[in-house]
Symmetry: C2
Subunit: 192 residues, 2 copies
């Protein structure tokens, strides 16, 4: 997409978030979003299928960054370490957009239709992580489990970072993965 | 609820699933579900707020069983073990309803409106697990992480069991929790 296309996309995302917060999600139309962004109404639909998706474009960037990092990791690294490194490498996607990220999360928390979409996006990212781990040679069941558990851990770290930015997202990620190891450790002594 | 109320509730759930599979979810009305179940249309709304919720009543049973088991576990047990035991203790909710559970999952997989509701129900169960772990004395961040990771692991085990019933759900749960320990083990050697 040419530079002007990227600019329009970002302006539409910013305008949508502003209007949703000002007027509420239900009362905002795609036409109003396009007008606020200073683009033609048709341009809206070149970038997004509907007014829900305009809020979730950033998660595609996150998914791609995580996937790229997983697929370029050294073959000998343990899966959990590969996942932690991929999450750390893509943390900037969230950190670069902290302000709008917080506004977006507040809006999602207040809008059931968006909450469910948010969960569905999480499921898409989990599936993409599982597919990347399979390409690294993990058996399907282990890839699915690692992806689900890894994404749950990432999500917790991101929530903690949104609540309290005193530490970086990377620090929250490292603590969460350590807490995961502490949590899972006692399971090793159970009978199989 | 008196016994006849429980019977009507179960008949409504069975009738809804049958009709969704026969006619499709969109083409089925609450009136048709009540008629198939042999109850008054008003009875439908005494049990369920809408035609989506009629499919998700079983998850409330699952949530309650998990919660009861978590809250009655010995204080000295490790959190991961408490979770595994709670999942094993409540596995019968799924095992008692395997046939309708499979039909239900196929329907959900084919119906986006139901997929999103399914994910939202998972979020509700996760929140309820986290609250129970906090009542056991876990700090909030650890309770949230353990609940999210534990539920993701349960969900994987249940999917594997649906795909291949050669092993019991309990066996899948034990393998998944073992796989979780193997996955998380290498994180212990990373710097904090």
């Amino acid at each position: 997409m040419p530079r002007s296309g990227e600019d329009a996309r970002r302006r539409l995302q910013d305008a949508a978030l502003e209007l949703y917060l000002e007027r509420g999600y239900d009362a905002t139309t795609t036409a109003a979003i396009a007008a606020r962004a200073g683009v033609n109404h048709r341009t809206f639909f070149r970038h997004f299928p509907d007014k829900r998706e305009v809020l979730f474009g950033g998660e595609d960037d996150l998914r791609r960054e995580i996937e790229d990092s997983l697929l370029s990791a050294p073959a000998e690294q343990a899966t959990a370490e590969v996942l932690l490194r991929a999450f750390v490498a893509s943390a900037h996607v969230l950190e670069d957009n902290r302000e709008s990220g917080i506004a977006r999360l507040q809006l999602i928390a207040a809008t059931p239709a968006l909450q469910e979409r948010d969960l569905a996006k999480g499921a898409t990212i989990t599936a993409s992580i599982a597919a990347a781990l399979e390409r690294r040679g993990e058996p399907t069941d282990i890839a699915n489990l690692a992806a689900a558990v890894g994404w749950a851990t990432f999500h917790r770290a991101a929530s903690d970072w949104i609540d309290d930015p005193a530490r970086s997202l990377e620090q929250y990620l490292r603590s969460s993965f350590h807490a995961l190891a502490d949590f899972a450790g006692p399971l090793r002594s159970l009978s199989p």
